[in-house]
Amino acid sequence: MTVFYLSLMVVIPLVGLFFSTAKIGWEGILGVFREDRIRAALFLSFYVGSISAIINMFVGFLFAWVLVRYDFFGRKIIDTLVDLPFTLPTAVAGIALTTIYSQKGWIGKLFAPYDIKIAYTPIGIIIALVFIGFPFVVRAVQPVLEDLPKELEEGAKCLGASPFTTFWRVIFPELWPSILSGTGMAFARGIGEYGSVVFISGNIPGKTEILPLLIITKLEQYEYSKATGIAVVMLIISFSIMFLINLAQNRASRRLT
């Protein structure tokens, strides 16, 4: 029954997508890369995806570190709030962030005098992706950090290592695989993210138009084959990134043992 339901709900649709691609053929997929607007969206999606992934890595690690290592007022509340982006509908996040970062918004106002626009530019998209993505890193690193025996660090310190060396040579290698997998998940999610980005990006073709949005635009214009082509390219790229991260992760954890 499991297999039946799974194949009904997941396998058939996914295989179906590839069959639809077969219909449009290689020519159709390559055609995707020929259109300037799609190329711009492809570039933008991966560009903002990568930058936000790097930010997520640092912010997520910082949260995990502080939540596990320090005891302070409000720790429990912050720990709970980290799950908020998972439970808050993306459309709500989208309109809230846009209002905060638009030129009249609470934070947008602070930057407006310097002529820095946040909403309706790639910066806005990156902010939305950080909101959506950093909890993935926190939740991936947190359990590993919790299980890390304190003796390792203390041992390193006793042997005369500086705090920096302790971190870099002792703690970091242990955490590296989980940081990678969290960041990878955040990145994969970021590439496909639609709800929170569609509001803050402003959707200017060629400038702040991301791939998922372009799929919807193409669908509205009844260009189904173009939309399918974009979807397949997106799927292939994000699956291969996930695969690479898995590979790197395996390597990293094998080196440890």
Partner: protein, 270 residues
Amino acid sequence: MNRYSPNFTKWIFIGLVYFFAFIILILPILIVFQEAFAKGISGYLESLQEPDTISAFLLTLKVAAIAVPINTLFGFVAAFTITRFQFPGKNFILTIIDSPFAVSPVIAGLIFLLIFGRQGWMGSFMEQWDIKVVFNTPGLIIATMFITLPFVARELIPLMQSQGKEEEEAGILLGASFFQTLKKIIIPNVKWGLLYGIILCNARAMGEFGAVSVLSGHIRGQTNTLPLQIEVLYNEYNSVQAFTAASLLVFLSLLTLVVKIILEKNIHRK
């Protein structure tokens, strides 16, 4: 004491976390309520009575009421099958269960559009029988089912794995029927994990936007779920109404978090 003592770094780190938590997590919630109450409580209550918003709210409830139980049942059966039986291809199945997480919601919507749409594979069949899936409630339900499929299974699989099957075997050896074992041993053991999975599944089902957006056709008062209704209102510069609708979903997600804390306490106590 030197400047770089652990204590000093500690407070810098904590300060940074507070700062980010406030900017990234708390501000968005505050702004939703500020905008929703921009015209006072009366404005808020008035927006709540907007007929399109009410029907969107009801539609959202309906979609969740169908998608969540089905996926709960599936999640339970799948977790049971995977943790209790040995069979080839287990890892493959696990990967497939997770795959809706990796697929962009917009792509998920597109796939179902290609299958059930007028020109899709089943399009002519559908037309013959006069079944409308796309731009209609069934399409919304199917898309939501796809997106929320992994939640319950993912919660239960590690839990059931760690609990092992000794208790069930003892039950069966002592002469309990399968249903008795199910009712008295299996379900009570995974109760909290199961509830937690259902709650997460429900939050996502009610908040789903991308996949539903492709399939809904945006017919006001008919196929707009609450998140879609928010988009429509926002794009019409109807800020108070949009944020009022959004505040309902914020309540839902805060409630989810509270329930989560309670459930986690119960899971740990065991």
